[in-house]
């Protein structure tokens, strides 16, 4: 399988041969930053288009068609417009926090975006608590949402923010527990090692019962954590007009909009890393010919393909299910998902201790 590490090492050596190490590092950091932001923006645009087309498909419609071939330029048009839309100055708000909130949300999502394993050797940073870092960074977003709701001085945004605070913090628990279950199976928190450990089979298959339970819990909890339907209460359109971002206009609203889609990608990416082998192709022990063919598909394609597939499932939820109510939402988490998750963690530990996994 092609290792992108060879390119980056070659580039690093090239830079260090003409300049001191610190300068090379600075240049590399800048390049990585620019590339990340670019990929971030492009993926967000792709995701918006992806969701629009998918939901049109569920709803017997066509979706964007007229702007560019098959409507692919639609989202670009939206972006141009939203960039130059007026930012409304509001009276009687906490102006500093109001302006800060969208940036917090977008920073949280960019940071956790950065740690995803894009492909063989394509990773910004690899350290031994990569997964932990990812969860920590992604949970920063709730702060932005709370601030947005609080600082807008509006009852809808306040109710939306309170809901999202209760919801995101609760569902973080289940996300954490189901990831812990896999960490127990893998015995590591490093992203590279997690992927490498799945070379002979994805964790979803290796951990059988326990991993499948963890996967289902993760999907539900991740949907809850990203505020997507059926858990989209913080911005429940039919109750709270637009929830916590009711008062935001122009690019500030655009940030929330982008972050919402990118968070969808991030949770899908984490799911594919933890359960479906990250960029690792589908390998079935013993079928060497099959494994060889699978290896010919580039690792980036594997990773994105898995992430898109999981996003597809989450989008499918969103457009089919009615929205739950806040008390039902919390009951689901605290009465069902978390106890099951805890039990599942013990089950996985037993499986690992007695070597009952593949």
């Amino acid at each position: 399988m092609f290792d992108f590490g060879s390119i980056t090492t070659w580039f690093d050596n090239l830079l260090e041969s003409v300049m001191p190490a610190w300068a090379a590092t600075v240049i590399e950091c800048v390049i990585i930053g620019v590339v990340l932001l670019l990929v971030y923006a492009l993926l967000a645009i792709f995701y918006i288009f992806y969701e629009r087309k998918l939901c049109a498909w569920f709803q017997c419609r066509l979706g964007p068609m007229r702007v560019g071939p098959w409507g692919i330029l639609q989202v670009f048009a939206d972006m141009f417009k939203i960039l130059i839309k007026e930012l409304i100055r509001l009276e009687n708000i906490d102006r500093f926090l109001f302006a800060l909130a969208p940036y917090l949300v977008i920073i949280a999502s960019v940071v956790s975006f950065a740690v995803l394993p894009w492909g063989n050797g394509l990773q910004v940073i690899d350290f031994n608590i990569g997964v932990f870092f990812m969860i920590a960074a992604s949970s920063l977003g709730v702060l932005g949402i709370l601030l947005a709701g609080w600082s807008s001085n509006n009852k809808y945004t306040l109710i939306g923010a309170m809901r999202s605070g209760a919801q995101m913090i609760s569902y973080e628990l289940s996300v954490g527990l189901s990831i812990m279950t896999i960490v127990v199976l893998a015995g590591t928190m490093s992203v590279t090692e997690l992927v490498a450990a799945q070379a002979d089979g994805w964790f979803l298959f290796k951990g059988h019962i326990s991993a499948v339970i963890a996967f289902i819990i993760y999907l539900i909890a991740a949907t809850g954590e990203t505020n997507r339907g059926p858990f989209d209460l913080p911005e429940a359109e039919h109750e709270l007009t637009a929830g916590y971002h009711t008062e935001y206009s122009g690019i500030h609203f655009g940030f929330f909009y982008l972050a919402e889609y990118l968070n969808l990608f991030i949770v899908s990416g984490i799911a594919s890393l933890m359960f479906l082998g990250g960029w690792m192709p589908l390998h079935i022990p013993g079928w060497d010919g099959f494994n060889m063919i699978m290896d010919y598909i580039p690792s980036v394609v594997w990773f994105l393909g898995k992430a898109f597939f999981i996003s597809f499932i989450i989008i499918w939820f969103k457009w089919s299910f009615p929205r739950v109510r806040i008390d039902q939402l919390l009951a689901l988490e605290w009465k069902y998902l978390m106890p099951i998750g805890l039990f599942n963690l013990i089950l996985m530990t037993l499986l690992v201790v007695y070597g009952l996994h593949f």
Binding site: G63, P64, R66, D78, M79, F80, N92, H245, E247, F253
Partner: protein
């Protein structure tokens, strides 16, 4: 540089005199090449990304729902991102009668829209009061209280008519000028001078 209108066939539209006039005016005053190109790009973005504010008061709103539903599917044009918060929408389509009690709410919504913003009067009632003209509490045409860009007659207009109206709005946007033009004209200082009571709050 010459301003051209792209996107739709000219012969499909019969009532373009006023847009032609606008184009002529723009061409007469001359446009900078670079700025003109930027204008084109921005107008392209704006015209193709018109997010409506959900604002239906009566029958026309049901036809607007049909516009969004599967057969007519306004998503094809990118109109489907209907925003419920006025701050994020681009145009307000007044679907139905506006009565005295509703008028202040409509004006308020209009003021809440972020620039650039457009208004469409959809249906007989919004255009002129329609069948309820002369009633004691009906506003005879919303243009009495907010500026209207496009009028769509009908009671209620068919979804196809609404498309035509929306496409007319797109054409209108495509000949606007971003640089030196259509954004909020009133500067904050002027606003504060006119409303001294707001001085404290805006600091």
């Amino acid at each position: 540089m010459e301003v051209k209108i792209k996107g739709m066939k000219r012969e499909d539209f019969k009532d373009n005199e006023y847009i032609d006039k606008l184009v002529e005016e723009l061409n007469a005053s001359g446009a900078n090449v670079v700025v003109g190109q930027f204008d084109k790009l921005i107008n392209w973005g704006r015209a193709n990304s018109l997010w409506p504010l959900c604002f239906g008061t009566s029958c026309c709103a049901i036809e607007f729902m049909h516009l969004g539903a599967a057969r007519h599917d306004m998503a094809r044009f990118g109109f489907e991102v209907a925003r419920n918060s006025a701050r994020q929408a681009d145009y307000i389509m007044v679907q139905g009668t506006i009565v005295h009690r509703m008028a202040p709410a409509l004006v308020r919504l209009w003021e809440q829209l972020a620039e650039p913003k457009y208004a469409i009067a959809c249906g007989g009632c919004a255009v002129s009061g329609g069948p309820f003209k002369g009633s004691y509490c009906v506003v005879d045409g919303v243009d009495q209280i907010i500026p209207i860009d496009v009028y769509i007659p009908g009671c209620p207009p068919r979804p196809e008519a609404m498309f035509y109206g929306l496409m007319q709005l797109q054409r209108k946007i495509k000949v606007e000028r971003f640089f030196g033009g259509v954004n909020r004209q009133e500067k904050l200082a002027d606003f504060l001078a006119a409303h001294p009571e707001k001085n404290e709050a805006m600091k």
